[in-house]
Symmetry: C2
Subunit: 363 residues, 2 copies
């Protein structure tokens, strides 16, 4: 049994280069006080031996762990993965997170923690103790969970709150939900719509409120009404169905709906189809999220695109740059964009015909 090739350690490099451990360490970490000549020599040894510092050892010696931990809601994430509906939130997080982390020599790990559970603290605490991350990224609905933010603050671990702009510890980042909703609503108004409804997300999410605010503001600015035009869902398909039905029942003159999630908007599309309403000719739809499937619905949905990758990337940068101090004040806003597809058009000239028979699609 051939002896397994031992791991190359800092000691090997030191010997090879004929210097002390400390010098190697300094070179590796770009520390000062190393003569260029020696530095190059050490570098050469490092390359030749293929030395890479052990994360564990670095962590042990009291320096950083070089780990950023991204925390997602366990229940929702698992449900998304299992449903296979193409929700690519986690993928986009990884895209932004892994790339930016690796640029700084960090790694990103993802952890699922249950919000609803009363053992959030245990769960999260365990992850923190085991991993000892240098930074944590919180996503809704964790971003504003007091138990979580307090725990992080107590342990003095820098963290980012995505989808939260509340004061307090942690770096707040948003995707400009108010502006995005305003933008979407304005676009609809521009197209000529006067009755624009919104299916909002659940109130536990701050961004649900921001989107309502943006919608209302655009309506107000145009002197348009919004009473009775708001329904609240839970981001899920079924709630979208309920909401769309209620809205359509209540307002015969409704010509546009903004849904606060793809699933709810897709549900609205289905409700419209059931009622013989053509989208976008009788009813315009704008969605939030812009997950892959809205490009494949009939018609493809106009949607507000959440810049998740970019936001996570920014969060990582902040976490790494700021380190353990806590200048948490300015909210970082990464603006969302509006992707226009085929679910938006000018409203019908007359009120939409009730259940007009229209060209049958398949099914």
């Amino acid at each position: 049994m051939a002896r397994v090739r031992k791991t190359v350690t800092i000691r090997d490099v030191a010997e090879d280069a004929g210097v002390s451990l400390q010098t190697v360490s300094r070179v590796v970490n770009g520390g000062p006080n190393v003569r260029p000549q020696l530095r190059d020599k050490v570098r050469a040894s490092i390359d030749r031996l293929g030395y890479v510092p052990s994360l564990a050892a670095q962590r042990m010696s009291g320096s950083r762990s070089y780990i950023i931990l991204a925390i997602n809601d366990r229940e929702r994430t698992l449900a998304d993965w299992r449903a296979r509906l193409g929700t690519d939130w986690v993928d986009q997080m990884l895209l932004g997170g892994i790339l930016t982390c690796s640029q700084h020599g960090y790694r990103m790990m993802v952890e699922l923690v249950d919000t609803h559970s009363d053992h959030v603290e245990r769960e999260l605490g365990a992850a923190l103790s085991a991993l000892q991350p240098d930074g944590v990224i919180l996503t809704p609905p964790h971003s504003e969970n007091r138990l979580i933010t307090q725990l992080l603050a107590e342990r003095n671990i820098p963290f980012a709150r995505i989808g939260s702009n509340a004061p307090g510890p942690g770096i707040p980042l948003t995707m400009g939900d108010e502006s995005a909703a305003h933008l979407a609503t304005s676009r609809l108004i521009e197209l000529g719509h006067r009755r624009i409804a919104m299916i909002a997300g659940p109130p536990q999410y701050s961004l649900s409120g921001w989107r309502i605010d943006g919608w209302k503001r655009a309506l107000d600015e145009a002197g348009l009404p919004h009473d009775g035009l708001l329904e609240v869902g839970d981001f899920g398909y079924a709630s979208g169905t309920r909401a769309a039905r209620a809205l359509l029942d209540r307002h015969a003159d409704l010509t546009a709906i903004i849904g606060s999630s793809d699933q709810m908007t897709l549900a609205a599309l289905e409700v419209a189809r059931d009622r013989g309403l053509s989208v976008p000719h009788d009813l315009s739809l704008i969605s939030f999220d812009n997950t892959p499937i809205v490009r494949f619905s009939q018609p493809p949905l106009t949607a507000v695109d959440q810049p998740i990758a970019e936001t996570v990337s920014r969060a990582v940068e902040q976490l790494i740059a700021r380190g353990p101090d806590g200048d948490d004040d300015a909210v970082i806003e990464v603006p969302a964009g509006l992707v226009e597809r085929y679910s938006t058009a000018p409203p019908p000239v007359e009120a939409p015909a009730q259940a007009q028979a229209h060209a049958p699609g398949r099914a």
Copy 2:
């Protein structure tokens, strides 16, 4: 500035319980030689203090790192994430991986490494040195990359090869590609098809060949021809378009195509549409992968479902169970299933009408 609450270490527990460090360690790791009485006492202290061992320290002291590293092709993965086509390969890996890892007290990390690059060794070597994972999961095309498997074998790190059944080090796992292709083809034959083409994946992927084998076997068993009915793509959309056109040009009597990826099959669907061929009435289509979007095409595609989560889960279990030894022999096969949707039907009674005008969909 209040002193940050120090991390709870094994020493704290030892003091609290009035025992030695070693005893605590034994309790934590389920070691033998601890009186139940003492064990309970220690456990109580652990709970009270909320002690969780530091991964880094565990790793340092020569025991396991409790990390499983999943390695994906950098280029392809980033392309998928950026394209936002709903490819959920990584999500499914995480679903299977994270859950199974956490059941055993492990964590999963994902790393992107570039196959094509000549610095595979450096890239992968660096990740291994930094992370020192207890196990590695390779996915195609890495699974059969000699540079990678050799490196892993040399370093004596247990690894799983997903999508590879070659002999050699590493635990081989497949998703039964031969059987799946056979199943899909048989189903088509059962429906009455006699001319069944295949658009295969690139030859660098073993599974491309297996799928061809399964298709041929089913054809042979039914006494059906397969000459001229095979085209090779690269899994991408454009290659699917090319292949479908070639196939349709060559065989006026073609009534079914099996595509070795969703993108290629979706491309075939588009080609059929362009030629006025109705799917499934003129042409049946079966896809491989079953990513979310094939449920939303018109019509939704019948597809072979790759049990990625389950396969990764099995890989993790093997890695953890086997440890550093290497009984690498039996191929573990996690069978794929066939999800029947609406792209498959009996072939037309006559040869399909050339460019028959059919009900216009949107666009």
